[in-house]
Symmetry: C2
Subunit: 310 residues, 2 copies
């Protein structure tokens, strides 16, 4: 009774099963055997590295975020690069953790003009129209096994990211990134404010797709999400912490290019045969534990594999 | 920049907005103004109450679970009642917490025949066919605003629960409960084992719908999910803890009928006008923060409101 999924190690070992009785590969097994040529290195310039204060047991807590590539959210990610270079987040904190929703961080005094940290003066101000992007014609779009979306005409993977697509009359497809688990967005005040990128949140629950096109996504957590998702939930409205003592301090946020000791990361190329196989297996589990493949998967149930490069 | 959703208290206060400029009610506001007649009391006999060991700061940690009603999963919930009466879980532990997936608890020695706790001898053994249920003809089924499901012909609410439906040729609709955030299921070993109910898990991430009809759901956490979702993630395969010290001890699991001091709980009747209004607002956010209503919602984004009775 102890497990409801076999350990990956057990499935990867040759074991005693004859080849002809061996079940189909599971999604993690497909990822494990994907050739090196199916992985894409993530540029350090596209990484944002956030160090939280160590735990009481002195365990370090590093959260690695991959920023969205062009053409998505470039105004916000440009601001985020400036904010990191200005050391804006050093000494700020995780201010809100709402269960099944988001963990949010930034300047705890942002609402108090007398105490708020100054923002760099050259931040871009984005229009709400920038929540949606027109993909250049010819942009590769891969459905994987995602189908039957409730929130968009179609969902697909674009350059390694989960994206929703609507037809637009001219100039290609209207597209926007999707609020899947682990995605990072830019908090904002009431419309028409669109946020600068100084206040960020990560999704730590069921995909809040109603936020799509209502708030800017800027990236995703590729390592260390557990340092945010396992934080104590705030007890104030919307999961804000009620006292400063409850917050988790942020010691530093740096771009990947500033950190000499950062490992290299890579993602499974979403146009590769391995990804197609992986996505199909996520939608149709045929490995030994499963008795009834689902026949489909929503796009947030096909997380793009990301790992430290070998 | 501090918030990306207004505090509920602010929206509920009369404020200074004129009536004609006031935005539409948010889902929590609709729930707050629902009349008492739209709420259904949950019988204490349908509650399973799990007390985890207090935190280092002596904070109590109680998790309240509502068991699935007939006709769903009755073999497993019957076993769970017997296991609670036998004090089976007292002194067991949370053994696994896998990020964006599940927290799982039970006898840490279940796999070791020499050390495993004895199970009650009169537990039922369920067939895999019991993962799906034929709804009696005439069972009220409410779609709410759920549409466009990837995993089933249709999703709907049945007596306060998220349920997937397929047409069956005779005898009504084939139905099964859905693995939404907070749902509780019965761990099992490889098929044809279906689990006894002695090993349980709660969903703490994006709905793992591929588990639907592959494993039995038995209920949902209605209070205290944060005591499971904010636990440290296990570092072994599948999020199992690697040492006994990392586990969180379970001090007691009792049926609601055994606890004199348990508050009363109620859920918003899914056939009520208030629920229809709430579900529509979840699918089409028209409250002040939102600029673009989604036009739909997947069923796991319409969590059934549950609260302590007033």
């Amino acid at each position: 009774m102890r497990m409801f999924l076999l350990p990956i190690a057990a499935l990867l070992s040759p074991g005693s099963l004859l080849a002809e009785t061996r079940p189909a590969l599971s999604p993690p097994e497909i990822v494990a055997v994907a050739p090196a040529s199916d992985w894409v290195r993530i540029a350090p310039a596209d990484l944002l590295v956030m160090d939280l204060a160590p735990t009481a047991a002195s365990t370090p807590r590093r959260v690695v975020i991959q920023l969205l590539p062009a053409p998505f959210s470039q105004g916000w990610t440009g601001n985020i690069r400036k904010l990191a270079a200005a050391r804006f987040w050093d000494g700020t904190a995780v201010v809100r953790v709402q269960d099944n929703y988001v963990a949010q961080w930034g300047d705890p005094e942002a609402e108090d003009a007398a105490k708020a940290r100054p923002l760099p003066t050259d931040l871009a101000v984005m229009a709400e129209s920038a929540y949606t992007t027109v993909l250049p014609k010819g942009t590769p779009v891969v459905s994987g096994a995602s189908r039957g979306d409730t929130y968009a005409n179609r969902t697909a993977f674009v350059a390694g990211w989960p994206v929703a697509l609507d037809r637009v009359k001219t100039g290609g497809a209207g597209a926007w990134p999707i609020h899947c688990y682990g995605m990072v967005g830019a908090g904002r005040n009431m419309s028409p404010d669109t946020g600068t990128g100084a206040e960020l949140y990560a999704v730590i629950g069921h995909a809040p797709r109603h936020l799509d096109r209502n708030i800017a996504l800027v990236g995703r957590v590729i390592e260390g999400i557990e340092h945010l998702s396992s934080l104590p939930r705030g007890t104030g409205p919307l999961g804000f912490y009620e006292t400063a003592q409850e917050r988790t301090a942020i010691t530093a946020v740096r771009l990947g290019t500033e950190l000499a000791d950062l490992p290299a990361y890579e993602y499974l190329f979403t146009e590769s045969a391995s990804f197609a196989r992986y996505a199909d297996a996520r939608a149709n589990r045929r490995d030994a534990f499963f008795i009834r493949p689902a026949g489909g998967a929503d796009i947030c149930n096909i997380p793009v594999p990301v790992r430290r490069a070998k």
